[in-house]
Amino acid sequence: MSAPSTQPTDAAPVLSIDGLTVALPAWSDRPHAVENLSIQIRRNEVLCVVGESGSGKSVMAKSILGLLPAPHVRVTAGRIAFEGEDLLQVAPERLRAVRSGRISMIFQEPMVALNPLMKVGRQVDEVLQVHTDLSARARRERVLGLFDDVHLPEPARIHGSYPHQLSGGQRQRVMIAMALALEPALIIADEPTTALDVTTQAQILSLLKELQGKHGTAVLFITHDFGVVAEIADRVAVMRHGRLIEQGDSAPVLRAPREPYTRDLVAAVPSLIPRHPDPAAVDDHVLAVRALSKTYGGRSSFLGVRSRGVEAVRSVSLEVPRGRSVALVGESGSGKSTLARCIVGLEQPDSGAILLDGQDIAGLSRAALRPYRHLVQMVFQDPFASLNPRQRVGDIIALGPTLRGVPRDVAWDRARELLDMVGLQREAVGRFPHEFSGGQRQRIGIARALAMDPKLIIADEPVSALDVSVQKQVLDLLDELRLELGLSMLFITHDLRVAAHVCEEIAVMRRGEIVERGSTARIFAAPAHEYTRALLDSVPGKGWEH
């Protein structure tokens, strides 16, 4: 399928990377970010490069346009052939002409990829200003046209807006408009939907596909998400430790991967089929939230400038049955984290009740709350920020019990047991957090929560910062521990796959309200609310089951 020049022009590669090797600086953990990598991408084709963090996929993408952080990271061997030139050999001026002119890039985080102090219209305009002789008026027309192409509402208003005034999806549309400005032959998209909400991700993916079809552009799409691959890829290349593991047409690779590593990766993607059977109804609730509301801000100022405030949680009611795991699913800004913070007692609700084992803890003072604190423990999203870097793992785990009066050596013995239970070595008590990987740190976080003998664990996106293969392990661990210790869990997530994997029940939250509640099996089979349906429709690769 990669036969050379005799093929029709459509099959000739737009970009051909041969034997690319990128060296890392001497102090890195390995000598090469990318090693002897060869891939091709043809016109009108979406090639997905998949890999976990550290696989070298982003370095590969950046080296195409010479955007590596010189002088530490540099290409030491190989060719990058594009339109009859080797991009590694051309003069800097020529490379600048290729950038955006013939090859453009879309980045992961549109908030930081745009200059915060410059209006977005001007930022897109800059591409045209640098590469064309168009007049200011003609450029403005073109930018407005581009904004229309990427379906931005009110192009004229967006043109005069700053990045922070747009939503995440709108910012990424601006980035796509910028990438399309000069109708390049190739677009490199580096995890362009990772930072976006599920429904926004679905929109951006379909937009990319639509535009790619319209202009016949080749797209090199970097991602870690096999769901996304299933959604848009024509062909797929799997990378690991800087090497190419497997490549081929996406359908066969996704259905029947040849290499063991690819098989593991694919198997690690949680299935959309709910794992836990429809549970019997239970009346015994560990946690019952009744008509809880929380509004941020909203005070009237001296000059009568009244701000309305943000109603983060609006009259939410929710139960967590004993021994069950309930998923709280919602997109960013839906109020799910605020709800969790109220339950843990980090935030005072404005009204409503939080019944913990029948005892209302809403509105209790700090002192009055103290006897109940240990009953609810939290596992946080970011395993790097949630462990004190100056404390030994043993202290991190044992601190809570020690504060409640458990003798230090007893607490440390318990810490060793807990480490064993979460799949780490007992000796880890004496080490510091930085000596562990993200997945291991999340295990420490779980051990810390368990040390308090909680009745309820609130897990706030506990795996969204982890690689796919690690994600699965941590999810399985949480699930096992929960069943083994008879714990109840409130699992906050934006990912329906994750919810289907570990939770018996789902509550869908949107704009501070719970729009639908029910058993996972029922919700997946017959979603009642339109928003739930939209969420389910947005899951990337929903048609793909491995």
């Binding site: 346009l65 600048r96 950038r99 002119g101 930081v112 990829a113 915060p116 800059e126 640098v130 910028m178």
Partner: protein, 328 residues
């Protein structure tokens, strides 16, 4: 940002300033009472001693015999109508004394600010552009030396070299009083007098800004929006001036706001070294002659200046950074 909202914000900030300035005035008034001695004892001391009766008589004449709170209430009442009182020492109203010294101080402060921010930003910018070359090292080294040297010593050394040895610039004062320059000549004369004190006063902050600017520029250059700009095909020069520069300026503006607050305090030393006829020097004299009316007047004035400058800095910030919203 709507013009009406902006105006309302400024009015709101000015209203907020009233209690701040009032608080400063009350606090200064009470703190001055803690110091031993008053105008009466100083006058008596200068006269070579006096009987307790005479001192009491002096106190009565200047209103110093009344209870403390009555004195404070009287003072606040007067300040409220901008009557800062009378300096018996100088035999003139405090307001007229301040007015006379305000211009030299503002001139010195203004040029210091301009010099330190301007040159500091420029040297930081170039150090960042030439990063890790010998030119960067020279700028950084000079900045560290300037940073570490005490102010008064710099002033004395500058006088020694440029005024006494080389005889290029005058040693002290604001103008040559016996030359009776007029118009343009007078401006040039004042400018020549201004050079050394302005350099002395600005050196520390100049170095600070240079280091801050260099560090922020380098930090910003590693951010994603710069990679985006590079992927657009911009030259390094365009990236630096269109994208990085303005972003890197924000911390410097914050720091400049802090500098202005401290400028008046720092100018006491420099105005004394260079005999610059400003508020700092006046404060110095007033302190030693227990001329509390004058001293309080100076405090009041500088509180007003600091508050005003802070408002200006905040407005500049709003203009520079669209993410900062007014009135919330």
């Amino acid at each position: 940002m709507a013009g009406g909202r902006f105006l309302r914000y400024i009015v709101w900030r000015l209203l907020q300033a009233v209690p701040v300035i009032l608080g400063v005035t009350v606090l200064c008034f009470l703190m001055l009472q803690l110091a031993p001695g008053d105008l009466a004892t100083v006058l008596a001391g200068e006269a070579g001693g006096a009987s307790p009766g005479f001192i009491e008589e002096l106190r009565a004449r200047y209103g110093l015999d009344k209870p403390l709170l009555v004195q404070l209430a009287l003072y606040i009442k007067n300040v409220a109508v901008l009557d800062l009182g009378f300096s018996f020492r100088h035999n003139a109203t405090v307001a007229s004394l301040l007015a006379e010294r305000l211009f030299p101080t503002l001139l010195l402060m203004g040029s210091t600010l301009l010099l330190s921010v301007g040159l500091g930003v420029l040297s930081g910018l170039f150090a960042a552009i030439w990063v890790r070359t010998w030119r960067d090292h020279v700028i950084s080294l000079v900045a560290i030396v300037a940073y570490a040297t005490p102010l008064f010593w710099v002033g004395l050394m500058l006088i020694l070299v440029f005024s006494i040895r080389l005889d290029w610039l005058p040693t002290s004062g604001m103008e040559d009083v016996v030359a009776f320059y007029e118009g343009w000549d007078r401006a040039v004369d004042i400018a020549r007098h201004l050079v050394l004190p302005a350099i002395t006063l600005s050196l520390f902050y100049l170095a600070l800004y240079a280091r801050l600017m260099r560090a922020t520029m380098l930090e910003q250059r590693g951010l994603d929006y710069v990679t985006t700009a590079r992927a657009k095909g911009l030259t390094e020069r365009q990236i630096t001036f269109r994208h990085v520069f303005r972003n890197a300026l924000l911390p410097v503006v914050t720091m400049a706001g802090v500098q202005v607050g401290g400028l008046l305090g720092g100018s006491v030393v420099v105005e004394s070294v260079f005999a610059w006829p400003g508020l700092g020097q006046l404060a110095f004299e007033a302190l030693f002659s227990r001329d509390y009316n004058l001293l309080l007047g100076i405090f009041f004035m500088s509180a007003c200046l600091v508050v005003l400058v802070n408002i200006v800095v905040d407005i500049v910030y709003v203009l520079l950074d669209p993410r900062i919203k007014v009135g919330t």
